[in-house]
Symmetry: C2
Subunit: 168 residues, 2 copies
DNA sequence: TATTGTTATACTCTATAACTATA
DNA sequence: TATAGTTATAGAGTATAACAATA
């Protein structure tokens, strides 16, 4: 009864403390569930897709930058990359500048794999927003992106991915 | 609503498939980190706060409705409620209508506990949105709420919390 | 037979620390 | 000494199945 009216009423500010978290959790759970089916067969699942996407589109210089960008701990990333290397979508090559670090590069199969799953992920994302009027959906994605960037910049301490954030 | 759209730079649509998930994850991680410090000392942490808030503000008729509303499995909820009961903020009472189920009611200490942490959570939420222009923040919270409601309704199968959603 | 809540078990994810090889 | 990456271990979180009480 009143719930729908309340949520749709833009005059109302944040209804109650904690509601923002409830909303975010609700949306993210739905997104992850849909995402999970979209990347079925992808090695490493959602995380695997995100790693492959980052490797191809952002070209991080080493594993640490890659992990920092996705919020993945380096110890976790090792196993994740193992499965992606085994699947043949990426490869580890020694970084010429610093022989301690390794650069992750996509294979040709990695490119086609990403292309395949990106179409499915795009469908999922538009489906999730399908319940909103198109203009609202556009505003929402823009504002979330803005907020994410904002939050990302405010993040203190470990932030070795800045070099990556300014790439084209 | 289109006026705020200009402020958010709508020229850039959804940049790439998967970006929405990256943005959502980024925002949620920051939110959870801040939330976590805000509810320091609260039994059960974030989950404990959400349960107490739901119990007081929504008055779910039984544990299943409570868990469904928060996306918490009933087996997990049992342990979570154990700690909340032990902390003295809620109590389990037998539901008169159905002797299988139990209603969770807040104690007087539960009310004051929630009130204390709600002010801290409210601060955290406004801090998170502080980087955005106030009008944009308002639009964003409203749209996220709308999307959450949308997603919540589309959720198939297990949805025994509808009875709760229509309460005042 | 189906459902509510509880309990026990197992599995996954994550966090911590120790180790190597480079710097 | 500090850092990038790897490995091993332990902990938290989560899911699954079985159970008792009630519908």
């Amino acid at each position: 009864m009143t719930t729908e009216a309340d949520a749709a009423n833009l005059d109302a500010p944040v209804a109650r403390p904690g509601d923002l978290g409830w909303h975010l959790g609700m949306v993210l759970r739905a997104y992850q569930a849909a995402f999970d089916t979209a990347v079925e067969g992808m090695p490493g699942g959602i995380r695997g897709f995100q790693v492959l996407s980052t490797v191809i589109h952002k070209e991080p210089p080493n594993q640490q930058a890659l992990g920092a960008h996705l919020g993945i701990d380096r110890t976790v990333l090792t196993y994740l990359l193992d499965s992606l290397v085994e699947a043949g979508v990426v490869a580890r090559v020694p970084a010429p500048s610093d022989r301690r670090s390794r650069k992750i590069i996509p294979t040709r199969e990695g490119h086609s794999t990403l292309q395949h799953y990106e179409t499915r992920v795009a469908t999922v994302e538009s489906d999730l927003l399908a319940g909103l009027p198109p203009s609202d959906a556009q505003v929402l994605t823009a504002l979330i992106g803005l907020l994410a960037l904002n939050v990302h910049r405010k993040k203190p301490g470990t932030n070795p991915c800045e070099a990556m954030d300014h790439l084209p």
